[in-house]
Amino acid sequence: MMSPRRKERLVALIAMAIALFTPPLLLVAERMGPGALPLYVFLAWGGVIALAGWLLEGGRGE
């Protein structure tokens, strides 16, 4: 069972991931130059996975 606080954090992470993977943030990334869009997606994706790993694996004793 996850603690209520961890559940809240996971929901917040999901909301953040949705915001990162969709326009308008995506359009902002694209304006930065040619090739910026895939770079942005990979960085955001990696960041979300790292946060999820930290959230789900860390603090088991919470």
Binding site: I18, E30, P34, F42, W45, V48, I49, A52, L56
Partner: protein, 909 residues
């Protein structure tokens, strides 16, 4: 041209290795030493999501539509983040209800409806067969590229007879594999451990294969990523494909494909199989929730560099084959073969799991319900059905793979890999609304789900499948441009005039509108049957603690009939397992509810929940519980839980109060003892002077002839003893007043130094009589404090008196000091007696407490105290805002009583 024999040997050698791994996995499982009980293996088995479509198709899609290929993996990333909520609930339900497939799951949720299960199985069969075809196409194509390069692969394929197509043989070998490792148990809800082990291994192989090409491209072919991107920057046309403009449908298409991938991931039968049916431990979901997205990220890392390198190098041919043609064109030895094996593992992994999932659906949802109606089968001998079920499932496996092959042989060439994949995705996405809404909304019912699925499927077929046939040349493509019978608003790619969208987002929008609209709308206006209500509650409340299904049945059936049913359909061994622990006798006794539930679950594991329900209903008389009954059970459970929680809290409180009471009781006993002692002491103290007074008074009364000096002496004694009596009574009254708060003090500004000297004068004389030496050290000229002079003097005298009593027996000494300490004045009285032990220091201020002395002072003629002097003194000092305590005597070595009073504020000048 590579040696065909080598390639074939490697390919079929690889398949043989899969057999070995699966057999090893199954053997370990039989020995009770499972190799799949790890969250990492679980995450790797979920990676069956990455098929040949990922392996070859991603690069093709990146070359044509830019970063849109990433959406196929971002959608599942979002779905996996939700897994600790959604998948966990599905796993819990699947374990409780012995769910065998996604069709079984949806059928069970909506009242174990056989019709709904059949509909889902049918849609899956139609929607997913092209996807299996796609895998076979990838194997055929990659084999041809590998063997024929640099010749174009297509030429040779067109002219070859079907038996020369290696993918047919791969399909047949896989059929044998799946029959061996996928249908070992009749119970389809049991894990296929060997198969899962093989799938996890395949996930590693395909990742290694793809990363190898990536590293080769970026670091061997171009020496560094910087060099590759520098070359790309020189070609503006190439940089354009990296932007959102290359994505079909632009920003809207991006969102549409993301939603499509999210829904499809949850609705794909093979994903349901590995994530839910094959899950061995709920806790593995937490690890997979981030590890599987990490796998997706890793396998996609080199897609763009490979696609760009392919476009730069112009290796020729199909963009879907660039992964192979790139190392082939560079003349790399060995690497193309590794890539081929990687692609083959991606394809075979998908085919194995998808075929198991589909064959279970076909046997349990399509064929068995029909067979159960046949009288001949239901009258068959022991375990007749068991043979039938396995036979049907094995036939279904062969049929599905051949169907896939047929589709590939006939239609496959008309579509690119990505197109087939996305069409299948859109079909699988139709299951997700019924699945997700059914998990969280109790009101969703069978009719709504059935109509929603049918509606969504129809729209999908009209907007994606049929146009696909038309584009393959099988149908007249005219209706694409003008609509059927000239009805413009029904054009498949522009329904209701919605133009300019990419075809997948367009199809997803209208199919979801139909699907969700019908599901919700119809559910809101129709009623559920009692069984539907029960199942809906069981699904939506699946994470409710202590929900025990056994209590949900209240039908009646004799034990014997139930046993006969299980014998007939599952065989004696299974039936014995279900009846384990039940008494052998009493075949005509009614079976307990838990046994009926166990029997139904055993049947459900083999036949699916709908068929199991039909069979149980044939012997059990009485209905399943309706919703109010179920809700009352759930409510009772929550009430019980709540009650338990409160009880626990109360018990903790009681424990705390108990311990406080125990402490209080100990204290009371101690006080009681002190009181007894006090009463005894008071009686003694009162009686001693009274006895003397009485005795001397009687002498005086009876002897009138006493000499004057004697008479004088006796009268003196009577007066002294009366004074002692009144002093004792005075002390007791003081104490009573102090305790009740009625002691009235008259505080005024006074000089503590003067008061101390006054007190010394009062005791000096009697103490000198007892040989006590009194030292005085008053270090201040004046010590202004606020206090009641009479009471303070009483305290000082009491302290000096006490010190005298406890001073050393032979050379008694007492010392009084008065000094300023910060903003206070401290008056300390010490003696050279034995001192007061640390633990006794607070107790001397307790009422009636007396320190036991070995050399009792009374023996030396010194007066014994009442045990009230110090408590009274402390009470008075506290009333005046000061403190009174005991410490070690700094100069004389005995006890030291210190009184501290705050300095009086300066008097107004």
């Amino acid at each position: 041209m590579r040696n065909e024999l080598t390639v074939l040997a490697v390919a079929f050698g690889y398949l043989a290795l899969l057999f070995v791994i699966a057999a090893w996995g199954d053997r370990r499982a039989e020995q009770g030493r499972s190799i799949i009980g790890s969250p990492t293996i679980y995450a790797l088995s979920i990676a069956v999501y990455c098929t040949a479509w990922t392996f070859y198709g991603s690069v093709g899609r990146a070359a044509e539509s830019g970063p849109s290929f990433l959406l196929i993996y971002l959608g599942p990333t979002l779905a996996m983040l939700l897994a600790p909520f959604v998948t966990r609930k599905m796993v819990r339900i699947a374990a409780a209800q012995r769910i065998t497939s996604i069709a079984d799951f949806i059928s069970a949720r909506y009242g174990k409806s056989a019709g709904l299960g059949a509909l889902v199985a049918l849609i899956a069969l139609i929607g997913i067969t092209p996807y299996i075809a796609l895998q076979l196409k990838a194997i055929t194509l990659s084999y041809a590229v590998l063997v024929d390069y640099p010749l174009a692969a297509g030429e040779r394929l067109d002219s070859a007879p079907f038996w020369a197509d290696k993918s047919l043989w791969v399909a047949l070998v896989l059929a044998v594999f799946i029959i061996l490792f996928g249908t070992r148990h009749l119970d389809a809800s049991e894990r296929h451990e060997g198969m899962v082990a093989a799938i996890a291994f395949e996930s590693l192989v395909k990742l290694a294969g793809f990363l190898a090409v990536g590293v080769f491209t970026v670091f061997v072919l171009y020496r560094s990523p910087a060099e590759l991107f520098a070359r790309v920057a020189e070609t503006p046309a190439l940089t354009d494909i990296l932007g959102l403009s290359a994505v079909p449908g632009g920003a809207l298409g991006w969102v549409g494909t993301l939603v499509l991938a999210f829904l499809a991931f949850l609705g794909l039968p093979r994903q349901f199989q590995v994530m839910v049916v094959e899950n061995v431990d709920e806790r593995h979901i937490t690890r997979a929730a981030w590890l599987f997205p990490l796998y997706l990220l890793a396998i996609n890392l080199f897609v763009i560099p490979i696609a760009l390198a392919g476009l730069l190098g112009d290796t020729g041919g199909d963009p879907d084959s660039v992964v192979l043609t790139l190392p082939l064109a560079a003349g790399a030895e060995g690497l193309p073969l590794l890539v081929f094996i990687g692609g083959m593992s991606a394809a075979t992994g998908m085919m194995i799991v998808e075929t198991i999932a589909l064959s279970t659906m076909v046997s349990n949802q399509l064929v068995m319900p029909l067979l159960l109606r046949s009288r001949r089968l239901s009258r068959g001998g022991q375990g007749a059905l068991a043979g039938w079920v396995l036979g049907v499932r094995r036939l279904a496996i062969l049929a599905i793979l051949l169907l896939g092959y047929g589709y590939h042989a006939l239609v496959g060439d008309a579509y690119s890999l990505v197109t087939i994949g996305l069409v299948s995705f859109a079909a699988a996405a139709q299951f997700t609304p019924a699945l997700l809404i059914g998990l969280y909304w109790r009101g969703a019912n069978r009719l709504g789900a059935g109509l929603g699925l049918a509606g969504g499927f129809t729209v999908w077929a009209w907007t994606l499948l049929i146009p696909g046939f038309a584009q393959s040349g099988w149908l007249d493509a005219g209706f694409l441009a003008h609509g059927p019978f000239g009805i413009d608003w029904l054009r498949p790619y522009a329904m209701f005039g919605l133009e300019g969208w990419d075809i997948y987002t367009h199809s997803l929008l209208w199919s979801l509108v139909a699907n969700v609209g019908l599901l919700v709308g119809v559910s809101l206006f129709t009623r559920q049957s009692p069984l539907e209500q029960t199942q809906a509650a069981l699904f939506t409340e699946a994470l409710h603690p202590r929900l025990d299904q056994a209590s949900l049945h209240h039908g009646q059936t004799p034990r014997g009939e139930l046993r006969a049913l299980l014998d007939r359909y599952l065989g004696a061994a299974t039936s014995a397992r279900v009846f384990a622990g039940e008494p052998e006798q009493g075949a005509d006794q009614p079976a307990p509810a838990a046994l009926v539930a166990r029997a139904e679950r055993a049947l459900a594991g083999a036949l699916g929940s709908a068929s199991a329900r039909v069979l149980i209903d044939s012997v059990v008389r009485g209905e399943a519980l309706d919703l109010p009954a179920l809700l009352s059970i759930l409510d009772t459970t929550s009430e019980t839980l709540e009650m338990n929680r409160r009880l626990e809290q109360k018990s903790r409180e009681l424990e705390r109060i108990g311990s406080e009471l125990r402490q209080a009781n100990t204290r009371l006993r101690e006080l009681d003892r002190l009181k007894d002692e006090f009463v005894a002491m008071v009686s003694h103290e009162l009686r001693t002077p009274l006895t003397s007074i009485r005795a001397f008074a009687e002498i005086l009364r009876d002897h009138h002839d006493l000499p004057d000096d004697k008479r004088e002496h006796f009268l003196e004694v009577v007066v002294r003893e009366s004074q002692r009596l009144s002093r004792l009574i005075e002390e007791m009254l003081d104490l009573a007043r102090l305790e009740s708060g009625r002691l009235t003090l008259h505080p005024e500004r006074l000089d503590l130094a003067a008061l101390a000297r006054h007190g010394i004068e009062a005791v000096q004389h009697p103490q000198q009589e007892h040989g006590i030496v009194l030292d005085v050290a008053i270090e201040v000229d004046e010590a202004p404090v606020i206090g009641d002079p009479d009471r303070l003097e009483q305290v000082i005298i009491n302290l000096l008196d006490n010190a005298g009593k406890f001073a050393d027996a032979t050379t008694p000494r007492v010392r009084l000091t008065l000094a300023r300490h910060k903003r206070h004045y401290r008056l300390a009285v010490e003696d050279n007696g034995p001192g007061i032990a640390e633990e006794e220091r607070e107790r001397v201020f307790e009422k009636f407490h007396q320190i036991q002395r070995p050399d009792d002072a009374a023996q030396r003629g010194r007066p014994r105290g009442s045990g009230l002097g110090l408590p009274i003194s402390r009470g008075i000092v506290a009333h005046l805002g000061g403190r009174l305590w005991v410490e070690d005597a700094p100069t004389l070595g005995g006890a030291c009583l210190v009184m501290e009073l705050p300095e009086a504020p300066h008097a107004a000048a």
